[in-house]
């Protein structure tokens, strides 16, 4: 028995020594993770104190911010990017819902997924996409031990977008609505639901920092908004905190203590609860 122990012990030591060289992937850190989560909480629980005295000004600020966010095309760019990510995750049978927990005792994936998408450009290219002309967006999402991190982030580099898209047919004949946009900057995308398979399923929060060029006018921009399907919400400072504005036929402005519905043109507001 002593002989046997003498033989097996070195073998065990060798096996354990081999184990010391284990390599582990280092995932990239999501940028501004804590701040983004605070922002998500803020959208759920606005902090602004609204009353008849400040709602008018809040509505005016909301309208100004709305023009900056440009909800008619910006969310579509982000949603489109996320649907590509979803397609890729589905192809690999990878988790696409940040709320789902991985099954125990199963092999778990840890990975960084990078989606490099060449932007559609200002015209409908008949040939292969031209990144040098159209720019690109690089999206990074991470899965840590089988669980999708709700925060993804992206960098837009001279990304050319036509609004409405050149492929959308008849709408482009309406000359005033056609805009050639160039997007530069960083986006933080916080998923509020599974990565959307279609734009209609999208639920996420976006924080953008960068510049937007429309035509020959370039503006620095820093804003955030939340997409819930086809609905868009954004944040405006008001009443010692932040109010959340929902874009629709009217502007729905929600504070910590009250909600108002405001006419977008006349900026007249009514309490809605």
């Amino acid at each position: 028995m002593r002989v046997a122990t003498g033989l097996l012990a070195p073998a065990a030591a060798v096996a354990l020594a081999i184990g010391c060289d284990q390599e582990t992937i280092t995932l990239p850190e999501p940028p501004m993770a804590a701040e983004t989560q605070q922002l998500v909480a803020l959208y759920d629980m606005p902090t602004a104190t609204l009353n008849v005295d400040n709602i008018q000004q809040t509505a005016a600020d909301a309208r100004a911010r709305l023009q900056e966010i440009q909800p008619d095309w910006f969310p579509a760019v982000v949603s489109d990017l996320l649907t590509r990510l979803r397609a890729r995750l589905d192809d690999g049978s990878l988790p696409s819902d940040p709320a789902s927990t991985p099954k125990a005792r199963r092999a778990q994936i840890t990975l960084a997924a990078n989606i490099h998408r060449i932007c559609a450009g200002w015209d409908d290219p008949a040939s292969a996409p031209d990144e040098a002309t159209n720019g690109a967006i690089d999206l990074t999402a991470i899965i840590d031990t089988g669980q999708l991190n709700p925060e993804a982030w992206a960098t837009a580099t001279a990304c050319r977008v036509r609004v409405p898209p050149a492929s959308s047919g008849g709408a482009i004949v309406v000359a005033p609505t056609v805009r050639n946009v160039t997007l530069d900057g960083t986006l933080i995308i916080y998923l509020l639901a599974p990565v959307p398979p279609t734009s209609a399923d999208a639920q996420y929060l976006v924080v953008f920092n960068g510049s937007i060029t429309i035509g020959d006018q370039t503006k620095s921009a820093s804003f955030d908004f939340e997409v819930d399907g086809t609905s868009v919400k954004f944040r405006v400072p008001a009443g010692g905190g932040d109010a959340i504005v929902t874009v629709g036929t009217t502007l729905g402005i929600q504070g910590a203590n009250a909600s108002f519905s405001c006419d977008l043109t006349a900026l007249t507001c009514q309490s809605s609860g």
């Binding site: 096996a15 390599e23 890729r88 690999g92 092999a107 996409p129």
Partner: protein, 307 residues
């Protein structure tokens, strides 16, 4: 020749050649018969010496006992062919054998991947009561599925130590290091063999064998994976003409330290070996040493004919 002369020559030959002959040959038995006759006052002594050469020595009883050669340091034997459900082996030399494992080939029926494999086993120490052997196996799998083009090479290296602690009691220890490499293009995360294929792992095994009779033994086996590394991978593919996706990551096995314990019997006739048992734990695929991801009943069955 006088009788004294004959006897002297016989003794001399025996003394001079005896020791070496005894080492080189089987022991010889010499019978000497003396006959004395008297004729006409003359006494004649006739000596007849008969030397009987015995048959080659019978092996020691210990060597006649068929030995368990699967997952032990024992060998199948020189010029011996063993056809089993777990392994085909051929002993080129007494201490060297080559073989292949049918289950890996048969895996194609389940995972649609052909796994050619080969192994060589070398017993480098045979000093009763200790035997040591090294076994190196190689498995190759071509991965062509779901846009993936690549291959897997799996090389388990096992050191076996068999120790006769008592004339009826053996300890068979095993230390195995599994090294595998996946190479190729495409999305390798789609080909995970259900997430259970370790790339680098270390496993220890121990079998206790108690020989009740010459052919019948009781066995108790344990196996434990002491180490497994995460599996790194990288893949890139085109989602559409505008979009390229790149994945860089690793696969962490769900169970890092699987184990199994098995009790059984081994029946080892000269031309037929059978090992039957059952236990509990994480089932390790024979040969490949890849463990299942859940605890379950662990069957143990090995049948082989030996030529």
């Amino acid at each position: 020749m006088s009788s004294r002369t004959v006897i002297a020559l016989t003794v001399a030959v025996t003394v001079l050649a005896g020791p070496s002959l005894a080492r080189a040959q089987a022991p010889a038995e010499t019978t000497t018969t003396s006959t004395t006759t008297t004729q006409g006052g003359t006494t004649t002594t006739t000596v007849e010496t008969t030397t009987a050469q015995a048959l080659p020595p019978a092996p020691k009883p210990e060597e006649q006992i068929p030995r368990l050669d699967e997952r032990t340091a024992f060998m199948v034997g020189r010029n011996t062919l063993k056809l089993g459900i777990l392994a085909f082996d051929y002993g080129i030399l007494r201490q060297l054998s080559i073989g292949t494992e049918p289950p890996a080939w048969a895996a194609r029926a389940v995972v649609d991947v052909l796994v050619p494999n080969f192994h060589v086993k070398f017993q480098f120490l045979e000093r009763d009561p200790i035997w040591l052997a090294l076994k190196v196996s190689g498995y190759y799998a071509r991965l062509d599925k779901n846009g993936v083009s690549g291959h897997l090479i799996d090389v388990p290296i096992s050191l076996f130590a068999s120790v006769k602690a008592h004339s009826r009691f053996y300890l068979h220890g095993e230390a195995t290091y599994i090294f595998a490499r996946v190479q190729g293009t495409g999305d390798l995360t789609q080909v995970q063999f259900n997430g259970g294929a370790p790339i680098r792992a270390g496993q220890l095994g121990l079998m206790l064998q108690y020989r009740l009779t010459r052919i019948f033994s009781l066995t108790a086996t344990g196996r434990y994976q002491v180490y497994v590394a995460d599996i790194p991978f990288e893949g890139s593919n085109q989602v559409d003409p505008y979009t390229t996706a790149t994945m860089t990551g690793q696969l962490t096995p769900g169970v890092k330290h699987p184990w199994e314990v098995i009790g059984g019997v081994a029946v080892l006739w000269k031309h037929f070996h059978m090992v039957v048992g059952g236990g509990y734990g994480y089932y390790f695929l024979p040969g490949l040493s890849i463990a299942n991801t859940s605890k379950t009943f662990v069957p143990d069955l090995s049948l082989a004919v030996v030529f």
